[in-house]
Amino acid sequence: MSTIKADVRRYIEENFLLGAGAVSPGDDDSFLEHQVLDSTGFLELVAHLEETYGFKIGDDEMVPENLDSLNAIEAFVQRKQQGVA
């Protein structure tokens, strides 16, 4: 698993699942559909990504296509790091 996905998965497990026995989301699972994150949860995730990877996420980037699964986040972070997002 990539470092990005491993980091985000760990963050989600530690902050949202809290060891309560819920299954960790699969790489393509929608956080919204599986009710892993609500809107406040997404704001927490965005803050985590900005702090961890040192970039700012624009208002127009706050969309499910960038943030709603581990695979989407990995691709988004990679695009941001390459300066193409």
Partner: protein, 323 residues
């Protein structure tokens, strides 16, 4: 498609029959469940609390209803004026209590302003603020923007980081919680019960502060859509200034519509969307009624369901471990 078209007519209400039903229910609840002798209603000057106060008077008579006007530093003067007008119109005893000193002592304004200054360092005396919701209706993820206005009228808008957003909301929630403390002081003093004033849209979508305006002994219009509350206000013959009032939060210093802060759409459309969802109408039908695309209508449905999930705990009793 269902045979009956979806639209404003879906919310038509027999106001007189509903008035009678509520007016009979209130004394039953008071005598059989709550065992209190009258009602305290906090009057904001808005449509919901005005209708609740008027229904309370219809149910019990003016002598058994006590009105409270609880302005603070950021309330609009118009709200207090409309509140007075209503209390005089209904002929109830009422008290105006400025809660600003209590809020000041609790740090409400200071904590809020400190969070705002972390985002807009120049913010200070003479500036105004509000929070607006963004993202969700366009298919994005809901987030909040802080809008501030400098004393010379220049506005700027910035996305709120989570910590600052939560602190601003937590600080402003002092307002609803202090008001509820006052409601219960007077309820205890008079041996009355406290009326909660949410309409169906607010109650369903969790648009209230836990242990603040969400706390009450009875909620006589929580089953009525906001459109129906306006119809009831006109049926009750309430003053024009109240019947025509635009719903605002009256919580932030810049004028702030409820739809800017919380709901995806203006209330008349939200009412239709909520009614349609509750009656099993498809997103396609809603799209026709609201003149939007089916994808947009589906997002409105998704947003309603998401808010229900996120706010379910606000109206719930505390969780207990079975023993």
């Amino acid at each position: 498609m269902s045979a009956v078209p979806l639209g404003p007519e879906s919310l038509a209400l027999d106001c007189e029959a509903e008035l009678q039903r509520i007016a009979q229910w209130i004394p039953q609840v008071l005598t059989q469940k709550l065992r209190r002798r009258g009602l305290v209603v906090a009057i904001s000057g808005g449509i919901d609390s005005s209708v609740c106060a008027a229904l309370s008077v219809r149910a019990l008579g003016a002598k058994k209803v006590f009105g409270l006007l609880l302005p603070e530093r950021d309330s609009s003067g118009f709200s207090t004026e409309r509140g007075r007008q209503l209390a005089e119109h209904l002929g109830i005893e009422y008290q105006v209590h400025d809660i600003a000193p209590a809020l000041e002592a609790l740090g409400c304004y200071q904590q809020r302003d400190e969070a705002i200054r972390r985002v807009v360092p120049a913010y200070g005396e003479g500036w105004k603020n509000k929070i607006v919701i963004a993202g969700g209706v366009e298919g994005g993820i809901n987030f909040f923007k802080l809008v501030v206005q400098s004393p010379d009228g220049e506005q700027q808008s910035v996305r709120l980081p989570l910590r600052e957003y939560l602190q601003i909301v937590a600080a402003t929630n002092f307002k609803q919680r202090v008001r509820k403390t006052m409601d219960y002081y007077h309820a205890d003093r008079l041996n009355y019960a406290v009326v909660g004033t949410p309409n169906r849209l607010e109650y369903d979508q969790g648009f209230f502060v836990k242990n603040g305006d969400g706390s009450a002994d009875l909620k006589p219009i929580a089953h009525l859509y906001k459109t129906q509350v306006y119809a009831m206000a006109r049926h009750l013959g309430l003053p024009d200034a109240i019947c025509n009032a635009v719903p605002t939060t009256d919580t932030y210093t810049l004028p702030q519509g409820q739809d800017e802060f919380y709901f995806a759409l203006p209330y008349a459309q939200m009412d239709i969307a909520l009614w349609a969802l509750e009656h099993g109408r498809s997103a396609e039908e809603l799209a026709v009624a609201l003149k939007m695309t089916p994808a947009q209508a589906q997002r409105v449905y998704d947003d309603i369901r998401a808010k229900r999930r996120a706010t379910e705990y606000l109206a719930a009793a505390p969780e207990l471990l079975p023993g």
